[in-house]
Amino acid sequence: MNTASVSLGASVSSQSRIMQLALAALLGIFVVGFVGFSHIDAVHNAAHDYRHSMAFPCH
Protein backbone atom coordinates (compact mmCIF):
# COMPACT_ATOMS: atom_id res chain seq x y z
CA MET A 1 0.00 0.00 0.00
CA ASN A 2 1.33 3.41 -0.92
CA THR A 3 -0.30 4.89 2.14
CA ALA A 4 2.34 7.43 3.10
CA SER A 5 1.92 9.41 -0.09
CA VAL A 6 -1.86 9.83 0.17
CA SER A 7 -2.43 10.17 3.91
CA LEU A 8 -2.53 13.13 6.25
CA GLY A 9 1.12 14.09 6.55
CA ALA A 10 2.22 13.63 2.98
CA SER A 11 5.62 15.25 3.41
CA VAL A 12 6.93 13.66 6.61
CA SER A 13 9.46 10.85 6.75
CA SER A 14 8.17 7.46 7.82
CA GLN A 15 10.04 7.52 11.13
CA SER A 16 8.69 10.91 12.12
CA ARG A 17 5.28 9.74 10.88
CA ILE A 18 5.29 6.79 13.27
CA MET A 19 6.49 9.01 16.11
CA GLN A 20 3.75 11.56 15.58
CA LEU A 21 1.00 8.97 15.25
CA ALA A 22 2.25 7.19 18.37
CA LEU A 23 2.26 10.51 20.20
CA ALA A 24 -1.33 11.20 19.15
CA ALA A 25 -2.41 7.74 20.29
CA LEU A 26 -0.62 8.19 23.63
CA LEU A 27 -2.33 11.54 24.13
CA GLY A 28 -5.70 9.87 23.48
CA ILE A 29 -4.93 7.03 25.89
CA PHE A 30 -3.85 9.53 28.54
CA VAL A 31 -7.04 11.60 28.16
CA VAL A 32 -9.35 8.58 28.31
CA GLY A 33 -7.33 7.08 31.16
CA PHE A 34 -7.47 10.25 33.22
CA VAL A 35 -11.21 10.82 32.84
CA GLY A 36 -12.22 7.17 33.01
CA PHE A 37 -9.70 5.49 35.30
CA SER A 38 -8.22 8.08 37.64
CA HIS A 39 -8.54 7.23 41.33
CA ILE A 40 -8.74 10.90 42.34
CA ASP A 41 -12.09 11.33 44.11
CA ALA A 42 -13.01 14.63 42.48
CA VAL A 43 -12.30 13.28 38.98
CA HIS A 44 -14.29 10.14 39.76
CA ASN A 45 -17.27 12.14 40.98
CA ALA A 46 -17.21 14.59 38.09
CA ALA A 47 -17.19 11.82 35.50
CA HIS A 48 -19.27 9.39 37.59
CA ASP A 49 -22.26 9.07 35.25
CA TYR A 50 -19.95 8.88 32.25
CA ARG A 51 -17.94 6.04 33.77
CA HIS A 52 -21.08 4.05 34.49
CA SER A 53 -22.50 4.79 31.05
CA MET A 54 -19.33 3.61 29.31
CA ALA A 55 -19.14 0.47 31.47
CA PHE A 56 -15.74 1.51 32.82
CA PRO A 57 -14.90 -0.19 36.12
CA CYS A 58 -16.25 2.23 38.73
CA HIS A 59 -16.06 2.74 42.52
Binding site: M1, T3, V6, S7, L8, G9, A10, S11, V12, S16, R17, I18, Q20, L21, A22, L23, A24, A25, L27, G28, I29, F30, V31, V32, V35, G36, F37, H39, D41, A42, N45, A46, A47, H48, D49, Y50, H52, S53, M54, A55, F56, P57, C58, H59
Partner: protein, 264 residues
Protein backbone atom coordinates in the same frame (compact mmCIF):
# COMPACT_ATOMS: atom_id res chain seq x y z
CA UNK B 1 4.67 18.10 13.84
CA UNK B 2 2.52 18.70 10.81
CA UNK B 3 0.90 15.27 10.91
CA UNK B 4 0.36 15.37 14.67
CA UNK B 5 -1.45 18.69 14.33
CA UNK B 6 -3.70 17.31 11.58
CA UNK B 7 -4.55 14.22 13.63
CA UNK B 8 -5.44 16.32 16.67
CA UNK B 9 -7.54 18.68 14.57
CA UNK B 10 -9.55 15.89 12.93
CA UNK B 11 -9.96 14.03 16.23
CA UNK B 12 -11.11 17.20 18.01
CA UNK B 13 -13.91 17.91 15.51
CA UNK B 14 -15.19 14.34 15.23
CA UNK B 15 -14.75 13.69 18.97
CA UNK B 16 -16.69 16.86 19.81
CA UNK B 17 -19.62 15.83 17.62
CA UNK B 18 -19.68 12.22 18.80
CA UNK B 19 -19.22 13.26 22.44
CA UNK B 20 -22.16 15.65 22.33
CA UNK B 21 -24.28 12.99 20.61
CA UNK B 22 -23.36 10.46 23.30
CA UNK B 23 -24.08 12.92 26.11
CA UNK B 24 -27.55 13.56 24.67
CA UNK B 25 -28.25 9.83 24.37
CA UNK B 26 -27.02 9.26 27.93
CA UNK B 27 -29.28 11.99 29.28
CA UNK B 28 -32.28 10.03 28.04
CA UNK B 29 -31.13 6.42 28.15
CA UNK B 30 -28.57 5.74 30.89
CA UNK B 31 -28.43 8.59 33.42
CA UNK B 32 -32.10 8.21 34.51
CA UNK B 33 -31.35 4.55 35.30
CA UNK B 34 -28.25 5.57 37.29
CA UNK B 35 -30.38 8.03 39.29
CA UNK B 36 -32.93 5.29 39.98
CA UNK B 37 -30.17 2.99 41.19
CA UNK B 38 -28.83 5.71 43.47
CA UNK B 39 -32.15 5.67 45.33
CA UNK B 40 -31.40 2.03 46.23
CA UNK B 41 -27.81 2.95 46.99
CA UNK B 42 -28.84 5.65 49.45
CA UNK B 43 -31.46 3.40 51.01
CA UNK B 44 -28.68 0.87 51.60
CA UNK B 45 -26.60 3.64 53.20
CA UNK B 46 -23.17 4.65 51.94
CA UNK B 47 -21.42 4.50 48.63
CA UNK B 48 -19.42 1.34 48.81
CA UNK B 49 -20.37 -1.85 47.04
CA UNK B 50 -19.03 -4.00 49.81
CA UNK B 51 -21.73 -2.86 52.17
CA UNK B 52 -24.29 -5.50 51.33
CA UNK B 53 -21.67 -8.22 51.50
CA UNK B 54 -20.35 -6.87 54.78
CA UNK B 55 -23.84 -6.64 56.21
CA UNK B 56 -24.56 -10.19 55.14
CA UNK B 57 -21.48 -11.67 56.71
CA UNK B 58 -22.20 -9.59 59.76
CA UNK B 59 -25.69 -11.04 60.12
CA UNK B 60 -24.44 -14.55 59.52
CA UNK B 61 -21.65 -14.37 62.05
CA UNK B 62 -23.85 -12.77 64.69
CA UNK B 63 -26.19 -15.71 64.29
CA UNK B 64 -23.21 -18.02 64.77
CA UNK B 65 -21.80 -18.99 68.22
CA UNK B 66 -20.11 -16.35 70.36
CA UNK B 67 -16.52 -17.33 69.48
CA UNK B 68 -17.14 -15.60 66.17
CA UNK B 69 -17.58 -12.27 67.89
CA UNK B 70 -14.11 -11.12 66.83
CA UNK B 71 -14.71 -11.79 63.14
CA UNK B 72 -18.09 -10.09 63.19
CA UNK B 73 -16.53 -6.99 64.70
CA UNK B 74 -14.29 -6.44 61.68
CA UNK B 75 -16.95 -5.92 58.98
CA UNK B 76 -18.99 -3.80 61.36
CA UNK B 77 -16.10 -1.43 61.94
CA UNK B 78 -15.29 -1.12 58.24
CA UNK B 79 -18.97 -0.40 57.66
CA UNK B 80 -18.87 2.38 60.21
CA UNK B 81 -15.67 3.83 58.76
CA UNK B 82 -16.91 3.97 55.17
CA UNK B 83 -19.14 7.07 55.31
CA UNK B 84 -16.26 9.21 56.61
CA UNK B 85 -13.95 7.93 53.86
CA UNK B 86 -16.45 9.24 51.29
CA UNK B 87 -16.39 11.32 49.21
CA UNK B 88 -14.74 14.59 48.33
CA UNK B 89 -16.07 17.17 45.94
CA UNK B 90 -18.90 16.16 43.62
CA UNK B 91 -20.95 18.19 41.16
CA UNK B 92 -24.36 19.21 42.51
CA UNK B 93 -27.30 17.22 41.16
CA UNK B 94 -29.15 18.77 38.28
CA UNK B 95 -27.52 21.04 35.75
CA UNK B 96 -24.00 20.96 37.20
CA UNK B 97 -23.91 17.18 37.14
CA UNK B 98 -25.30 17.15 33.60
CA UNK B 99 -22.73 19.70 32.47
CA UNK B 100 -19.82 17.71 33.88
CA UNK B 101 -21.16 14.62 32.14
CA UNK B 102 -21.22 16.51 28.84
CA UNK B 103 -17.63 17.68 29.39
CA UNK B 104 -16.51 14.14 30.25
CA UNK B 105 -18.18 12.85 27.08
CA UNK B 106 -16.56 15.46 24.85
CA UNK B 107 -13.09 15.08 26.37
CA UNK B 108 -13.09 11.30 26.14
CA UNK B 109 -14.78 11.46 22.73
CA UNK B 110 -11.74 13.40 21.53
CA UNK B 111 -9.46 10.93 23.35
CA UNK B 112 -11.05 7.92 21.64
CA UNK B 113 -10.94 9.81 18.34
CA UNK B 114 -7.19 10.41 18.75
CA UNK B 115 -6.64 6.69 19.32
CA UNK B 116 -8.84 5.72 16.36
CA UNK B 117 -7.24 8.20 13.95
CA UNK B 118 -3.69 7.30 14.98
CA UNK B 119 -4.28 3.56 14.63
CA UNK B 120 -6.20 3.88 11.37
CA UNK B 121 -3.48 6.06 9.82
CA UNK B 122 -1.11 3.12 10.17
CA UNK B 123 -3.55 1.16 8.00
CA UNK B 124 -3.93 3.89 5.40
CA UNK B 125 -6.39 6.14 7.15
CA UNK B 126 -10.18 6.39 7.21
CA UNK B 127 -11.04 7.45 3.67
CA UNK B 128 -14.77 8.10 3.90
CA UNK B 129 -17.75 7.70 6.20
CA UNK B 130 -18.34 4.06 5.23
CA UNK B 131 -14.83 3.00 6.15
CA UNK B 132 -15.35 5.05 9.29
CA UNK B 133 -18.39 2.98 10.20
CA UNK B 134 -16.26 -0.17 10.08
CA UNK B 135 -13.52 1.43 12.18
CA UNK B 136 -16.27 2.50 14.57
CA UNK B 137 -17.55 -1.06 14.78
CA UNK B 138 -14.03 -2.20 15.61
CA UNK B 139 -13.81 0.44 18.35
CA UNK B 140 -17.15 -0.72 19.73
CA UNK B 141 -16.01 -4.34 19.76
CA UNK B 142 -12.71 -3.46 21.44
CA UNK B 143 -13.85 -0.89 24.00
CA UNK B 144 -17.43 -1.97 24.81
CA UNK B 145 -18.23 -5.52 23.74
CA UNK B 146 -15.09 -7.36 24.81
CA UNK B 147 -14.65 -5.85 28.31
CA UNK B 148 -18.44 -5.79 28.76
CA UNK B 149 -18.61 -9.58 28.48
CA UNK B 150 -16.57 -10.06 31.63
CA UNK B 151 -17.53 -6.84 33.40
CA UNK B 152 -21.07 -5.93 32.31
CA UNK B 153 -22.10 -2.30 32.75
CA UNK B 154 -22.90 -1.89 36.41
CA UNK B 155 -25.20 0.46 38.29
CA UNK B 156 -24.32 2.20 41.55
CA UNK B 157 -24.94 -0.05 44.58
CA UNK B 158 -24.12 -3.20 42.63
CA UNK B 159 -21.54 -5.54 44.12
CA UNK B 160 -18.16 -5.61 42.39
CA UNK B 161 -14.64 -6.86 43.02
CA UNK B 162 -11.78 -4.54 44.01
CA UNK B 163 -11.44 -1.60 41.64
CA UNK B 164 -7.80 -1.94 40.60
CA UNK B 165 -7.88 -5.60 39.47
CA UNK B 166 -11.01 -4.81 37.45
CA UNK B 167 -9.32 -1.86 35.80
CA UNK B 168 -6.27 -3.99 34.98
CA UNK B 169 -8.47 -6.72 33.51
CA UNK B 170 -10.44 -4.14 31.52
CA UNK B 171 -7.33 -2.54 30.02
CA UNK B 172 -5.69 -5.92 29.27
CA UNK B 173 -8.85 -7.16 27.57
CA UNK B 174 -9.08 -4.02 25.43
CA UNK B 175 -5.42 -4.32 24.42
CA UNK B 176 -5.61 -8.04 23.62
CA UNK B 177 -8.84 -7.64 21.63
CA UNK B 178 -7.42 -4.69 19.67
CA UNK B 179 -4.27 -6.59 18.73
CA UNK B 180 -6.35 -9.67 17.86
CA UNK B 181 -8.73 -7.77 15.57
CA UNK B 182 -5.78 -5.98 13.98
CA UNK B 183 -4.07 -9.29 13.20
CA UNK B 184 -7.24 -10.66 11.61
CA UNK B 185 -7.88 -7.53 9.56
CA UNK B 186 -4.38 -6.68 8.35
CA UNK B 187 -2.29 -9.87 8.29
CA UNK B 188 -3.13 -12.49 5.70
CA UNK B 189 -1.68 -15.43 7.56
CA UNK B 190 -3.44 -18.41 9.11
CA UNK B 191 -1.10 -18.81 12.13
CA UNK B 192 -1.51 -15.13 12.95
CA UNK B 193 -5.28 -15.43 12.60
CA UNK B 194 -5.21 -18.33 15.06
CA UNK B 195 -3.05 -16.27 17.41
CA UNK B 196 -5.61 -13.48 17.04
CA UNK B 197 -8.45 -15.75 18.15
CA UNK B 198 -6.37 -16.86 21.13
CA UNK B 199 -5.73 -13.23 22.06
CA UNK B 200 -9.42 -12.32 21.85
CA UNK B 201 -10.53 -15.36 23.85
CA UNK B 202 -7.74 -15.48 26.47
CA UNK B 203 -8.95 -12.66 28.77
CA UNK B 204 -12.28 -14.41 29.17
CA UNK B 205 -10.61 -17.72 30.03
CA UNK B 206 -8.57 -15.92 32.66
CA UNK B 207 -11.84 -14.32 33.73
CA UNK B 208 -12.71 -10.90 35.05
CA UNK B 209 -12.48 -10.25 38.80
CA UNK B 210 -15.91 -11.00 40.25
CA UNK B 211 -17.50 -9.93 43.53
CA UNK B 212 -17.74 -12.37 46.43
CA UNK B 213 -21.50 -12.12 46.40
CA UNK B 214 -23.84 -10.94 43.64
CA UNK B 215 -26.53 -9.98 46.11
CA UNK B 216 -27.85 -6.49 45.43
CA UNK B 217 -30.86 -4.31 46.10
CA UNK B 218 -30.95 -3.34 42.41
CA UNK B 219 -33.82 -5.11 40.61
CA UNK B 220 -32.68 -7.47 37.86
CA UNK B 221 -34.91 -5.69 35.33
CA UNK B 222 -33.34 -2.30 36.02
CA UNK B 223 -29.86 -3.70 35.53
CA UNK B 224 -30.80 -5.46 32.31
CA UNK B 225 -32.32 -2.25 30.98
CA UNK B 226 -29.08 -0.47 31.84
CA UNK B 227 -26.90 -3.03 30.07
CA UNK B 228 -28.98 -2.67 26.90
CA UNK B 229 -28.96 1.14 27.13
CA UNK B 230 -25.19 1.32 27.65
CA UNK B 231 -24.41 -1.10 24.84
CA UNK B 232 -26.64 0.62 22.32
CA UNK B 233 -25.60 4.19 23.17
CA UNK B 234 -21.95 3.14 22.95
CA UNK B 235 -22.59 1.46 19.59
CA UNK B 236 -24.14 4.65 18.18
CA UNK B 237 -21.29 6.70 19.66
CA UNK B 238 -18.66 4.60 17.91
CA UNK B 239 -20.52 4.61 14.60
CA UNK B 240 -20.92 8.40 14.75
CA UNK B 241 -17.28 8.81 15.74
CA UNK B 242 -15.98 6.58 12.95
CA UNK B 243 -18.22 8.05 10.28
CA UNK B 244 -17.46 11.57 11.50
CA UNK B 245 -13.73 10.93 11.31
CA UNK B 246 -14.14 9.68 7.74
CA UNK B 247 -16.06 12.78 6.71
CA UNK B 248 -13.78 15.29 8.48
CA UNK B 249 -10.62 13.61 7.24
CA UNK B 250 -11.99 13.54 3.69
CA UNK B 251 -12.77 17.26 3.78
CA UNK B 252 -9.49 18.09 5.45
CA UNK B 253 -6.92 15.94 3.74
CA UNK B 254 -7.95 16.86 0.23
CA UNK B 255 -6.15 13.78 -1.03
CA UNK B 256 -9.06 11.67 0.10
CA UNK B 257 -10.35 11.16 -3.42
CA UNK B 258 -7.48 8.83 -4.16
CA UNK B 259 -8.13 6.93 -0.94
CA UNK B 260 -11.78 6.68 -1.82
CA UNK B 261 -10.93 5.21 -5.18
CA UNK B 262 -8.53 2.71 -3.76
CA UNK B 263 -10.82 1.40 -1.01
CA UNK B 264 -14.56 1.65 -1.57
Amino acid sequence: MNLFRNVVFIAAIAGLVAGIALACMQAYATVPLILKAEVYEKAGGGHHHDHTAAANSNAMSSAAPADNAMSSATPASTGAAAPTEDEGWAPADGFERFAFNVVANIVTGIGFALILVAVSEFAGGIGNWRQGVFWGLAGFAVFTLAPGLGLPPELPAMPAAELLPRQIWWISTVAATAVGLGLIAFRKSLPLAILAVVLVVAPHIVGAPQPVSFETAIPEGLHHQFVVAVTLTDLVFWLVLGAGLGVVRGRFAGTATSLRDSFA
